[in-house]
């Protein structure tokens, strides 16, 4: 197990390095520079600025400096907001984005699984059809459309929830619904189909023959097996939720990390781009790692430290 984790950590570092390098190449290949739009500066000031941000150095030096900044986790000051460092921006934005993301995952997983189980148990009944209709709608409607619809209906026409910002639990309801509906629908459909398959297995019949009560059969015997595929797609869903937060944060004016991420690209704020990219990637890679570990815990047949076929 320890050997496996060490190996995975090494692969994670390599993955991160590839992402950083690609981001750097993309970043410098976009025409223009963060200092282009500065008005009213003399040539000397412009030069001093470039030198301060190391933009006058050759690309390979800039690249190495970036790698160094990542290794020390110190991305320096933002170019557009010189009074704040990138670390400050991340430090302010991350807790809010994390809160939004975590609640979204919790809501999506719990409601998705419950919806899936109910649909499977009432297979081909009205409840099943209703749940699956909701699921299809949830998958088909993009979160930004749902977000605007929710604001219009539940904040403007019927002012139940506040339409924007992030200051109380009431403010959190609409963004979480907007972001969680898609993943919830996917989880519900997947849970339903795997649950239906698992319920026909011999060990379920055996559990019934033992005289166990139905709840125990569903939650102890069926659900654990039915959740395998759900855990597998958690990684992908996580990536989806993460990128979803950019848009949702923008729509609901939530002061999270996503805002800086999008703005920094528009403004070519190099340190912020690198900082947010590295941070997001590291977070996602680590989350995927956790998913793999969870998989091994759920299914004892999967031995993480051994290669397949060994």
């Amino acid at each position: 197990m320890l050997k496996y984790i060490m190996k995975r950590l090494l692969i994670m570092v390599v993955t991160l390095w590839i992402i950083v390098t690609l981001t750097f190449v993309l970043m410098v290949s976009i025409p223009g520079s963060p200092l282009n739009e500065e008005r009213g500066t003399t040539e000397q000031v412009q030069k001093n600025l470039e030198s301060f941000y190391n933009l006058d150095k050759p690309y390979y030096v800039q690249y190495l400096l970036y790698i160094k900044s990542i290794a020390t986790f110190d991305f320096g000051p933002s170019i557009k907001q010189p009074d704040r460092t990138v670390n400050d921006l991340l430090g302010n934005g991350f807790p809010i984005s994390f809160e939004l993301g975590m609640w979204t995952i919790i809501v999506a997983v719990i409601s998705g699984i419950i919806l899936g189980i109910i649909a499977a148990l009432r297979h081909n009944g009205i409840v099943d059809y209703l749940a699956m209709t909701i699921a299809v709608l949830g998958i088909s409607i993009p979160n930004f459309v749902l977000a605007t619809l929710l604001i219009q209906q539940l904040a403007v026409n019927h002012p139940i929830f506040p339409p924007a910002t992030w200051s109380s639990p009431m403010h959190m309801v609409l963004p979480i619904i907007a972001l969680a509906t898609g993943p919830m629908a996917i989880i519900a459909r997947l849970t339903r189909s795997t649950m239906l398959e698992v319920l026909t297995q011999d060990y379920i019949k055996m559990a019934r023959a033992k005289g166990l009560n139905p709840w125990k059969i569903i939650f102890k015997h069926a659900l654990k097996n039915a959740l395998m595929p759900v855990v597998t797609i958690m990684g992908t869903l996580l990536a989806g939720i993460l990128t979803g937060t950019f848009v949702i944060e923008k729509i609901f004016a939530i002061p999270g990390m996503g805002r800086y991420f999008v703005e920094s690209i528009n403004q070519r704020d190099y340190p912020v781009i690198m900082g947010t990219t590295v941070f997001y990637s590291a977070f996602l890679i680590f989350a995927l790692f956790l998913v793999d570990i969870a998989y091994g815990i759920l299914d004892p047949r999967i031995k993480l430290h051994k290669k397949a076929g060994e």
Binding site: Q201, D202, Y203, K205, M206, A207, R208, A209, K210, G211, L212, N213, K216, K220, H221, K224, N225, L298, D299, P300, R301
Partner: protein, 335 residues
Amino acid sequence: MEKILTVDNLHVTFKTYGGTVQAVRGVHFDLYKGETLAIVGESGCGKSVTSNAIMRLIPNPPGKITQGRIIFKNKDLTRLSEKNMRKIRGVDISMIFQDPMTALNPTLTIESQLIEGLRQHKKNISHRAARQKALDIMKLVGISNPEERMKQYPHQFSGGMRQRIVIAIALICEPDLLIADEPTTALDVTIQAQILELFEKIQKVTGVAIILITHDLGVVAKIADRIAVMYAGKIIEVGTKREIFYHSEHPYTKGLLQSVPRLDLKGESLTPIDGTPPDLFSPPSGCPFAARCPYAMEVCDKAYPAQTALTGTHQVDCWLQDERAKKLLAHTTTI
């Protein structure tokens, strides 16, 4: 001998898109304490459906017990609520499934799967007592090093070992009746013999009555006390092992016994029963075997024969046993 189970005129149907299948059509048998009754017959004759009906494990819909009674310890199981039925499953009647590779839950330890039945039915049993019971039963079914093995998962066991565990799970609440649905079919021959010996051993130790569902006459010859032969949803002949193997009267039973490959008849071709079983969507009103029977008479297509008791234990459903048919045969003597 004390009767513990009476199945009386049991009918089970399944509704499908193609119509209603009459899987079991009036099965009747008794089971006595401590005996082994084998129910034999070819695939689709209703033997598994009968056993599932006793456990009330027939999925409804599409399946339904439409008629008949299943009397177990003076209770009619067909009338029990699902909740009361749960108090019987696993405690009074246990079941062993055909394929040990799929009958155990891959994500739970053996210990957890062994003990959960015990804890469900005996609420006040302590964890330690339950564990001790599990260890004892593991030893009884012949698993060495049970303390260590209990912590393992099903994939760490071989097929034969898994079937031993399935048997252990079935026995842990000390049932009076064990229904074994083709318990050796999925195992290879050497393991089959070991499992059959295990059945004999546990019956001696616990005195449990066994209903053995199988199509393997070799298995039957080894461990059954009595045999019921099923065909097209009916029991057509029932008797002691000796009566069925040496004095069978029903043409189907005879055909079945003749079709078994024999080592002493090297080079001879097998003797199959010609034809196929009837369609149970619309079963014939007469004897279902009539179309394949070499001795079929006109009456066989018209009406189902009444049961004839040949001895106290040997009964057969066949027109050939009718007095009138016997008189007729005495004149012709062609058979």
